[in-house]
């Protein structure tokens, strides 16, 4: 097989002078010096700048409402409850005039693994996993009821 680079033996004199005058060492110093320019620096300062995540990122769940009349889009078909591999979702419904109306909807985000199977199973655009990933709280309130799901997750803005 052919080698990609061949080994060329350097002359003894040039190697000797390179080690006396520390040429490679100074080249290394120049490289690290030039790494200091601000265009190289891609650090994102977290609480002030949030990372921009993809549109399909699976974050906190939200129960969407119809934008025109404000009613919930959920048809209480319970497909999300069937699809969830961890059984985080509990859907409660009642039958009014031959239509299922949603009454209670609880979602346990403590156990949820954000796989998105419930979002895929839902036939309407009601259940959606948003891009919100900052879900830490001070109390153990991991079971979200319908109202909190419809309001959507709360984003805290940091000023510094």
């Amino acid at each position: 097989m052919y080698r990609l680079t061949t080994f060329k033996p350097k002359s003894f004199i040039s190697e000797f002078f390179k080690s006396i005058f520390l040429i490679d060492f100074i080249k290394g110093l120049v490289v690290t010096f030039y790494y200091q320019r601000p265009s190289e620096n891609i650090t994102e300062q977290y609480p002030k700048e949030r990372p921009s995540v993809a549109e399909r990122f699976r974050g906190a769940p939200r129960l969407n409402k119809d934008p025109e009349n404000g009613e919930t889009l959920c048809i209480a078909c319970k497909l999300c409850q069937l699809a969830c591999p961890i059984d985080c979702i509990e859907v409660g419904s009642e039958k009014i005039e031959k239509k299922n109306i949603l009454t209670t909807f609880t979602y346990d985000i403590g156990h949820c693994m954000y796989c998105g199977l419930c979002e895929d199973a839902c036939p309407t655009p009601a259940l959606e996993l948003t891009q919100e990933f900052e879900l830490a709280t001070y109390q153990r309130d991991f079971i979200w009821d319908r109202k909190r799901l419809e309001d959507g997750p709360v984003i805290t803005k940091y000023k510094r």
């Binding site: 060492f25 290394g28 110093l29 490289v31 690290t32 010096f33 790494y35 200091q36 190289e40 620096n41 891609i42 650090t43 300062q45």
Partner: protein, 342 residues
């Protein structure tokens, strides 16, 4: 009475406090510069741009629990960091920041604390005492890694002191005096800084200076990944802070001596050239601090760039290469000075 006691006491207090401030902000400078060279930002949250980070570190270290390991030699354990710190700070009494005189309430005040006839010898002697603190600290910790780290560190410091001494001797051949002020004045008389006349001596001094303070690339004895933390493994809280301050004070010391001996102390570049006399507008103290700042930056730059020497490579460089080169430099300088008057 006042001149001999009160004024030096006030000067000592001022220099000590300023030095503590510089040591604290040297840690900040190091973190920021190493971070920028590693394409990241360093401390940014504590104050504006992280400027209050050293204060946060100091407060944290003061509140940490003070652990003395079981089986450790208690008094020596407590005293060892102090042995390292005291010479590191005391040496600043002979370093001249400038030669300008002012009068305060009618008494002449100069910007250095004292000008000993044997200034540079005093500096070398005190920096050798600092080695004791390291050996005693590691030995009294009653633990394997500090013991090994301290022995290696002491051996390294002792072997690089020889080469450093010879590099300094090559400067003394030109300055004919051990006093620090006379060395700077000799550079003024010659018109050139000694780094230009003695480049070999300068580089050897820098390399030995980096090795003396146990800084990268010679920091195997205290490297975080090699020997846990070397001789200061068992130290926590404020004792660790004392070792840390002593290390940074030693860095500032080596930088100041390099600035004084090789880069002209408080002189501006090309001090005798009339065309550049506009540079004299900047006071000598400012030039001195700029030079010290450059050497500190060089220290940090070296840390961010170079990998670490293995211990046998380190000792080989010190004994087999640097000492013969520095002795050769002294002989060459002496011959040139004697026969050619250069």
């Amino acid at each position: 009475m006042v001149e001999y006691f009160l004024i030096p006491a006030v000067q000592i207090l001022i220099i000590f406090l300023v030095l503590l401030l510089f040591v604290a902000y040297a840690t900040y400078l190091e973190r920021k510069v190493v971070a920028f060279m590693q394409v990241r930002l360093g401390p940014m949250r504590v104050g504006p741009y992280g400027l209050l980070q050293p204060i946060a570190d100091a407060v944290k270290l003061m509140f940490k629990e003070d652990i003395v390991p079981a089986g450790a030699d208690k008094w020596i354990f407590m005293f060892a960091p102090v042995i390292t710190m005291i010479p590191a700070f005391t040496v600043f009494s002979v370093i001249p920041f400038s030669d300008s005189h002012t009068t305060v309430f009618g008494y002449p005040v100069h910007l250095y604390i004292t000008d000993v006839n044997v200034g540079i010898l005093f500096v070398l002697a005190l920096s050798s005492i600092g080695v004791f603190g390291i050996i005693l600290g590691g030995w009294s910790s009653n633990s394997k890694y500090p013991l090994l780290g301290s022995l290696r560190s002491a051996a390294q410091m002792v072997s690089y002191e020889v080469a450093m001494g010879f590099a300094i001797v090559s400067v003394l051949i030109y300055s004919r005096s051990l006093s620090m002020i006379d060395i700077v004045n000799a550079q003024k008389d010659m018109g050139w800084w000694f780094a230009v006349i003695q480049p070999i001596g300068f580089f050897i001094y820098l390399i030995c200076g980096v090795a003396e303070t146990n800084r990268a690339p010679f920091d195997l004895p205290e490297a975080e990944s090699e020997l846990v933390a070397g001789f200061h493994t068992e130290y926590s809280g404020f004792r660790f802070a004392i070792y840390f301050m002593a290390e940074y004070a030693n860095m500032i010391l080596i930088s100041s001596i390099a600035a004084t001996l090789f880069w002209g102390g408080w002189l501006s570049p090309f001090p005798n050239v009339k065309a550049l006399s506009f540079l004299q507008v900047v006071p000598g103290v400012v030039w001195f601090f700029l030079k010290v700042f450059f050497f500190m930056y060089l220290y940090i730059w070296l840390r961010a760039t170079l990998p670490r020497f293995r211990y046998d490579q380190l000792m080989r460089v010190g004994w087999k290469y640097l000492i013969p080169i520095s002795i050769g430099n002294v002989i060459l300088t002496a011959v040139l000075r004697l026969y050619f008057r250069t």
